[in-house]
Amino acid sequence: DAGVTQSPTHLIKTRGQQVTLRCSPKSGHDTVSWYQQALGQGPQFIFQYYEEEERQRGNFPDRFSGHQFPNYSSELNVNALLLGDSALYLCASSLGQGRTYNEQFFGPGTRLTVL
C-alpha cells in the first residue's frame, strides 16, 4: 500500500517564477493538507482540501493556492516566488469526515529553493 507521495523531490526556481507541487494521498484517504517547513522550524499549515474545496486556510498570502482533483490528489501552486518561500513543502493525507481528528500521514516533502 503506497503511502503519501509527492513530486518533485527537489526544485530550484528564481524569484518571480511560479511553481506547482503535487501530492497523491495514501490509499483510501480523501483529505489533503499542505504544510511549509522552513529551515529550523516546525511545519506551518498552509491549507486543507476536502471534497475538492479548500476547507481551511492558514496565514499564507493569496500567492499560495491549491487544487484537489476528483481522485483526491492535490496541487500546491505558488506564484511570484520570493526568497522566503524556500522551504520543505509537506503534504499530509487523512480521512476528512467530521471534526474529530483523523491521523495525518505525511509525505517525504518537496524541497523548494528560490534563488
Partner: protein
C-alpha cells in the same frame, strides 16, 4: 493565537541516558496532542498521541508522554535512549473545536552519541 512551544532546540545525550523534551501549548479549549519524529532522510511520522483518558500515553520505540492539563504541557520521555533515536522531534496540537489543522512546535534536534 494558538501556539506550541518546545523549550529545547538541541539536545545531546549519551546512549542509555534518560530523555525529557518539553512542550507547552496555548489554547484554552479541548485539544488532541501529538509527538512526531523525523529521522534523518525519512518522513515525518507519528510517535504517540493523546486524545482523552489516561494522561500518560505510550508510543512506539519505548517513548511515552504525559499530559498535564493545568500546565498546558505534553512532555516526551524515554528512560534510556539509543543511538537510533537521533532525530528531530515535533510536538503538535489539534484544537478540537475550531480547526482542521495541526499546530507544530519548532522542533527539538536530538543527537545521541554512542
Amino acid at each position: 493565537a494558538q501556539s506550541v512551544s518546545q523549550h529545547n532546540h538541541h539536545v545531546i545525550l549519551s546512549e542509555a541516558a534518560s530523555l525529557e523534551l518539553g512542550c507547552n501549548y496555548s489554547y484554552g479549549g479541548t485539544v488532541n496532542l501529538f509527538w512526531y519524529v523525523q529521522y534523518p532522510g525519512q518522513h515525518l511520522q507519528l510517535l504517540l498521541k493523546y486524545f482523552s483518558g489516561d494522561p500518560l500515553v505510550k508510543g512506539i520505540k519505548g517513548f511515552e508522554a504525559e499530559f498535564i492539563k493545568s500546565k498546558f504541557s505534553f512532555n516526551l520521555r524515554k528512560p534510556s535512549v539509543q543511538w537510533s533515536d537521533t532525530a528531530e522531534y515535533f510536538c503538535a496540537v489539534f484544537p478540537m473545536d475550531s480547526s482542521y489543522k495541526l499546530i507544530f512546535g519548532s522542533g527539538t534536534r536530538l543527537l545521541v552519541r554512542p
